[in-house]
């Protein structure tokens, strides 16, 4: 069995580990490369756990999150990344914006 990459209480989110991305640009690329169904499955898995996740993360100093907690934190940033698409646009066809990949993010 491969080594688990998330804190023990959140191993059920392990299938979504591809969303634990360090840079905003990578999270945007992941969003753009995913189907709306994949995005909704990710959103539906993480959203209900948010309260628990933040409570867990806030048990650590934010500037010194352990590796697994850091990955969990990155998952929440990806939830934010897709939230407008899921909650406000609801479908890709409703997006009336330039390609987000033309919008360069410098971190």
């Amino acid at each position: 069995m491969s080594e688990l990459t998330l804190p023990a209480a959140f191993v059920d989110l392990e299938p979504f580990i591809a969303w634990a991305l360090e840079r905003e640009r990578e999270r945007t690329e992941q969003r753009e490369a995913s189907t709306m169904d994949e995005i909704r499955i990710f959103y539906d898995a993480v959203f209900p756990r948010m309260e628990e996740i933040v409570a867990h993360l806030d048990g650590f100093a934010f500037d010194a999150l352990p590796e697994k907690e850091h990955r969990l934190f990155l998952l929440t940033l990806s939830l934010v990344e897709v939230s407008n698409l899921v909650e406000r646009y609801k479908r890709r066809e409703a997006v009336t914006a330039i390609s987000p990949l033309d919008y360069s993010s410098v971190q």
Partner: protein, 396 residues
């Protein structure tokens, strides 16, 4: 709620500005763009970065100011003083620094022949110096550019003898914002988007909230205060010598998205940095010509967004957006900041579509004029200020 919802209140406040149509040609004319370069960008203070871009002694930041054909090197000396220079070697005018940010270290070396400059821009090393003719190194430092700092914003003025100080240029904006907690705000993210548009079209499109219920209906259509007919009404407008302010209040019963509502509940960090200088809840300052400072109220802490519209050509503009928040001390707070940033980022990606479509429309010359309503008064004023600097189109 302090906002008055009545119509045409800003024309009443500023009756001398007039209410007629405004010519659009300046937004597409290559000749006018050339005049702007000479009469605006070379003759006024321009915000090029923040001191955070060069936090430590010896750090530098390079701003490519294409509109003035200039590459500017902003450097913090080991004495702590922020100085600006042309990023141009005294030998044969090569660009000395080729990256956007860095540290001077033992010196800046021109990649062409290794001429060396120190943290104060002084020329300190010339390979094969003995083979030059009467070369006095003390007279060949980097060419200084007038540079000054206000509240962490670094400005340059390309005229060797500016006709006013930075303080006088900022005027009423500095009076309003002096003493703000700017040093407690850190840049979380910078975005740059190159658009096929004129710089003024992009700026004008941001300089009102009339469009929010329409263009941004899904994302933030009902964020700012609306009258009984669902049209935006700003709380305050101030027209200064050149700059402007409009300020809005949020809709009191603003419908939060599910994630936004959740984040509001689970952020346990308590109240953070507040900006007492806020007039309303979303204050939008345009610093003529191409800088915007937005200060906003959040549920638990306040923040800042800045825009710089960098003209590359009459029809090409880089829209640079920066988000500033107090440094997050908890995961919950940082996730909340990410939420705000991504929401406004997605709004701005809708805006970019409009900036380009507007340019194409104006370029067709089908409509020689803009029609501005009362809520768009700061755009009207911007074009008047521009005309005061450049001349009106046709008799410039």
């Amino acid at each position: 709620m302090k906002t008055l919802l009545r119509n045409k209140q800003w024309a009443e406040k500023y009756p001398e500005l007039g209410t007629g149509p405004v010519a659009a040609e300046s937004c597409v004319s290559p000749e006018y763009y050339e005049l702007e370069r000479e009469r605006v960008f070379r003759r006024t203070w321009i915000n090029v970065c923040r001191t955070d871009d060069l936090p430590e002694p010896g750090d530098f930041f390079v701003r490519d100011l294409k509109v003035c054909d200039a590459s500017l090197l902003i450097m913090r000396g080991k004495d702590g003083v922020v100085r600006g220079f042309h990023n141009v070697c005294s030998h044969r005018s090569n660009m000395v620094v080729t990256k956007e940010k860095g540290a001077c270290g033992t010196g800046l070396f021109c990649p062409f022949h290794n001429w060396q400059y120190n943290d104060k821009g002084e020329l300190v090393g010339v390979p094969d110096e003995e083979n030059f003719f009467d070369l006095d190194k003390s007279r060949h430092g980097l060419t200084p550019v007038n540079t000054d700092v206000w509240q962490g914003f670094v400005f340059v003025h390309l005229d060797p003898q500016p006709d006013e100080s930075l303080r006088d240029y900022l005027g009423e904006v500095a009076e309003r914002l002096d003493g703000g907690p700017f040093e407690e705000l850190a840049c979380l993210q910078t975005y740059k988007c190159e658009e096929r548009t004129n710089w003024k079209i992009a700026l004008d499109a941001q300089n009102e909230v009339y469009h929010l219920p329409f263009q941004h209906q899904r994302l933030i259509g009902h964020t700012f205060l609306l009258n009984e007919k669902n049209h935006t009404r700003v709380l305050e407008v101030e027209l200064y010598k050149r700059h402007t302010l409009w300020s809005c209040e949020f809709v009191p019963d603003f419908k939060l998205s599910p994630l936004e509502e959740l984040l509001g509940k689970i952020d346990s960090g308590g109240e953070g940095v507040r900006i007492p200088q806020l007039v309303g809840e979303f204050d939008f300052y345009v610093l003529f010509p191409n800088t915007v400072i937005i200060l906003f109220r959040g549920p638990l802490e306040d923040g800042m967004v800045t825009y710089n519209f960098w003209p590359l050509a009459v029809d090409r503009t880089i829209w640079e957006v920066r988000y500033y928040f107090p440094s997050a001390e908890s995961a919950g707070r940082r996730i909340g900041q990410e939420f705000f940033k991504c929401l406004i980022r997605d709004v701005q990606q809708e805006d970019s579509v409009a900036h380009e479509a507007l340019y194409r429309g104006i370029l067709s010359r089908a409509k020689p004029h803009f029609q501005f309503q009362d809520e768009e008064i700061t755009i009207r004023y911007f074009h008047k200020v521009l005309e005061d600097h450049v001349g009106s189109f046709g008799n410039a």
